[in-house]
Symmetry: C2
Amino acid sequence: MTLTLDHINTVPHAEALALLDGLYEHSPWIAAKALEARPFQSLAHLKYAMTTVLKNAGHQAQLDLIRAHPELAGKAMISQGLTAESTNEQSTAGLTQCSPQEFATIQQLNADYNTRFGFPFILAVRGTRGNGLTRQQIINTFTRRLNNHPEFELAECLRNIHRVVELRLNDKFGMHPTLGDIQWDWHEAMAQYSDPGYKEKGQLTVTYLTDAHRACAAFLESKMHECGFDDVSIDAVGNVVGIYKAQASNAKTLLTGSHYDTVRNGGKYDGRLGILTPMLCVQQLHAQGKRLPFNIEVVGFAEEEGQRYKATFLGSGSLLGDFKPEWLDQKDTDGITMREAMAHAGLNVDDIGLIKRNAADYLGFIEIHVEQGPVLNALDIPLGIVTSINGSVRYLCEITGLASHAGTTPMLTRRDAATAAAEVVLYVEKRAAQDADSVGTVGMLNVPNGSINVVPGRCLFSLDLRAPIDAQRDAMASDVLSEVKAICERRGVTVSFELTERAAAAPSAPAWQQRWEAAVHALGVPLHAMPSGAGHDAMKLHKIMPQAMLFVRGQNSGISHNPLESTTSDDIQLGIDAFMHLLTHLSDETKA
Amino acid sequence: MTLTLDHINTVPHAEALALLDGLYEHSPWIAAKALEARPFQSLAHLKYAMTTVLKNAGHQAQLDLIRAHPELAGKAMISQGLTAESTNEQSTAGLTQCSPQEFATIQQLNADYNTRFGFPFILAVRGTRGNGLTRQQIINTFTRRLNNHPEFELAECLRNIHRVVELRLNDKFGMHPTLGDIQWDWHEAMAQYSDPGYKEKGQLTVTYLTDAHRACAAFLESKMHECGFDDVSIDAVGNVVGIYKAQASNAKTLLTGSHYDTVRNGGKYDGRLGILTPMLCVQQLHAQGKRLPFNIEVVGFAEEEGQRYKATFLGSGSLLGDFKPEWLDQKDTDGITMREAMAHAGLNVDDIGLIKRNAADYLGFIEIHVEQGPVLNALDIPLGIVTSINGSVRYLCEITGLASHAGTTPMLTRRDAATAAAEVVLYVEKRAAQDADSVGTVGMLNVPNGSINVVPGRCLFSLDLRAPIDAQRDAMASDVLSEVKAICERRGVTVSFELTERAAAAPSAPAWQQRWEAAVHALGVPLHAMPSGAGHDAMKLHKIMPQAMLFVRGQNSGISHNPLESTTSDDIQLGIDAFMHLLTHLSDETKA
C-alpha cells in the first residue's frame, strides 16, 4: 500500500508509527518522536522533523544509531542484524557481488575506519539520484572519508542515514522526484562535454567558447526547444537565451538564469542548476498549456568563471553593456585571442552591443544556484534564502623581515616575517568572527624558499574579506589593514599590500526575497536566510534590476569548484517546486 | 706623532681629548665622556668605551650624530661640512672619481634613503680590511640597505660610524691589524676556488672533493708548510692536518681546527676562520722560534656542511671513527658516488679507519668560528665565549583541515589548516622566549597550492627547537608538541609530525671555557657568554674530549651561509690575539 501524508496525519499515533516502521535502523523512537509534530505539510516536512529529533537527541543517541548499523558488505549483511531495507540497498549497489579484491579492500577499509572512529562507516549507497552507486564510487568515498575529522565524520554518517531514510520514505509514499531525476540526468549529460586535457582524465572543464562549451550551448538550445520555449537563440557572446512568452504581447519579462561554463576540474551543478531548473518549469507550463502574465526569459550565461580569459561575468555583464572591448585582444594560454575564438564560434562581435537589455522591460532577475558552501548541508535544510551577495575585497600582501640563522638569532632580536604573518592570520579570523556574517580568509600563505633552519625573511599571504553590506566589509578591511600595520610596526618588519579586487555587495530586493521565502514556506521546508559568500551572475543584474537568489543544498559539505560537488535529485526537485511556486505566486500578484 | 695608550691614559683629560680629536663627526663629547673610563687596557677597550658612551646617549643623540654626517658623494663633500677625515675616506674609496652615471645613481640613492629614513646613509667606505670598498660595492650596499627596517638601519649607521672611528683610531695609534690583514687576504685567496656553475656567477661554493675543494686543501697544505708546521698531510677523507711539535716528544696535543668546505653560495669565513687563525698563531710561534709544552694539531676538516653528499660532519666525525661506510655509495647530483670521488682525489678508502684519534693523546679541542648570528654585532662586542653548542630537534609537520570556499564557509564551521598553523607559529615563538637562551623557529610555512578564495585545507611547516642543555630542549619540544596537538584538537584538524633531526647539546668544558674567558679578558674586550645556536665540528669532538669555542663577530647582523658573511681584519686580529693568549696561558699551566 502506498502511504499518503493525509493518512499519516490523521491516523492514531501507534498506527502512524507502524506505517513508518523500518526507516531508522532499529530506532523507531525517532519516527515516534517526530510524529508529535503532525500534521506534516509535505514529505520534506516529515523528513526534516525526523532529522530534528535526532539532532536534539544528543551525542550518545546519535552514536548508538550509527552503531546499530552493520559494516558495509560485512558478514553481518548476510547472516544477521541487517534490516531488509539495508540488505536491499547494499544489494542494489552491487555489494553482494564484490570481486574478492573489492571485498578485501572494503574489509580493510572497515577495519581502518572502525579503528579510527569507533563506529561503522555509513554511506547512502543508493546515491544522490537513488539509483545506486558503483562499487568503485563506494570504495572511493570510503577511502576519502577515512581522512575526515572524527567530529565531522560522525555528522557525515548521520547525514547519510537521513539520506537512506529519505529514500526509504520516498518508497513508502510512492514519491518520485521525477523532475529532479530528469534534471539530475541533464547535468550528467552536460558533464559529458569537457575541454581537451580534462575529459581524458574524467574531469569536467568547460571554458569559454571551446568545443565542449559550444556543445553545452547546443545542448541547452536543443533542450529549450524541447521544453517548449518560443524563442531560442545564441547571442553574440554565446549566451543561450530562451523565451517563454506571456499571454499578452506587451507583458513584462521575468529574467532568470545562470552560467554554463565551469572552472577547471569543476562540478556539474555550479551555474547549470540555475539554467536547467527554470527550463524544467517552462517544460511543465508548456506541457500544461499554461501561459503566465509575464514572459519568462531563461539565459544560460556563456561565461562567469573567468578561466580561459580574464573576463569574469562576461555573459551576464553583456546584458548590462558591460562587455569590455579590450577583452577581445586577450589571448588564452594557446595564444588564441578572444576575438579569434568568437569568430571561430560564429559569433558576431559587432552585435555585442545589441545584447544590452532595457531594465524597464523586466520585472526582475531571480537565480537558483547550489550553495557552494556547508551551511545548508550542516543544518539538514535543503533550500536557503539569499539575503545578499557579499561584497568583497582582496589583497595580496608581502611581509619583509630579516632572514637569519634559526640557531643563532635570539628570539628577541628576530624580524621574523612568518610570525608577523601568523598574527595577521589569527587577527583576520578573530575580526571576521566578530560580525555574525562576515568572512575573512588567508588562503595563500607562504614563506618563499623557506628552510627549516632559517628565520623567515619574507612571507607572502592573501586577504579575502567579505560581508553582506559594503560598510560592514569596509569596517572589517579597515580594521584588518590597521592591525596588519600595527603588527608589522611592533615587530620591526615591513609590509606591502596590493588591492586585487573590490566588489560591491548586492543585497536582495526585499520583495523578491519575500517571494522566495513564500515559495520555500509553501513546501513545508524550514526557512534559512543567509548571505551568499560567493559571487554570482545576479551581482551583475543587480546593477540594473531587482534580484534575489535561492540556494540548493550541496552534499559533501557543499564543496564546489571540485568534482565532489553534488546534490540530490530530491533537493533539485525541491528547487524546481520552489521555482514553480514563485512563478505561480507572481502570476497571481501580476494579475491582481 | 703616533699616539700610545700609555700617553692617552696618563695625560690630563683636556690634552687626551685634543689628541682624540676628529674621531666622531663633530661630536667630541663622545671621546670626552669615554675618557672618564681611563686607564684603557687596550685600543679595543678604548673603542668599546666610546661605543658604550654613544649607546647610552639615547636615540636623539644617536640621530644627531648620524645627521652630522653629509651625504655620500654629495655636494657637501666638496664644499662644506665634511671633516678632513671623511674627505680622505671618501676619496680613498674613489668616490671623488665617480662616472656621471655612478654619481647620478648615488644621488638618487641618497634621495631615496633620506626620504625613507630621514637621515643620511653612513657607510664605512674603507671596508672590513680598511683598504677601501669599490664604487660598485658601495652602490650595492647602499641599494641593499635601503630595504632595511628603519630601526635596524639606524643601528647599522651607528655601527658603520664606529667602524670609521676604529680605523681613524688605528691611524692615530699607528696600529695595524697585520696578522688580521694577512688572514683576511688568505680568506680572499681561498675564496677564488669555487665549484663550477657558481664560480662563473661570482659565488663561493666548495663541496666535498670537487676540484675547488682540492685546491683549497692544497692551499692549506702549502700555507701550513710556510707557517712552519712540522708535519703536514692530507688524510684519507681529505682533512688537512698540520702538526707543530712540542718541546718534548712525548707531549700531549692540543687539537684545533674547523672545516674548509662551504654551503652553496656561502661565505668566506664560515669554518675557514678556525683553520687560518691557529695557522697564523703557529706562524708567529715558529717565527719567534718558540715551542710549547704541547703539540698543536690544526685540522682543516674536509666536510661539515653535508652539501654534495648527505654526510654532515664527515671530516671531524672521522676523527672519532664515525665515518659511515654506507656513505661511500651515495651519489651526488651528477651520479658520482663518494667512493668514486675519493678515488678521483687519490684518497685511500682503506685508510679511513686510521684517522681515528686516541683521546688520551689530547688535551682537548678548541675551535674559533664566526658567530653566524647577530648577537655580537648588535652588542658591539668583537668576541663571544661559547657556553654550549645547542642541542636541537627538528620536525616536519603537516596539518590537514578541510579546504572550503572562502566566501561561503562561515567562520565558526571552518577547519582551516593555516589558522591552526598560525597558532603553532606564535606558540613556538612564545615558548622559546620563555627560556632566556632557547630558540624556536618555524622556517618553512606553506599552504600548498593555496588560493586567495579557498580556506586552506593543508598547511606544511617545520619546527626547529634548540637549547644549550638537552633537558631544556626536550621540555620545550614536549610543550610545543602538546600544544600543537591541543590546537589541532580544538580546531578539528589533524596533524602529523616527522622527526628529522635530534642532536645532543655540547656544553663547553668549564676549564676550557675559562681559558677562553681569560684570553678575552686579557685583551680588554668585554666578556659575553652565549650559546652557539649553530652546530660545529666541536660537537663531534665533544664526544671524546673536552672542548670549548670562541666566536668572532660577523658584520651584516652576523649573516652566514650567504655571500654577505663578513668580518673585519681588526676582529680577526683580536681572534688571533685571543688564541695566542690561550696558547701562552696553557703553556704556563702545563709547565706549572
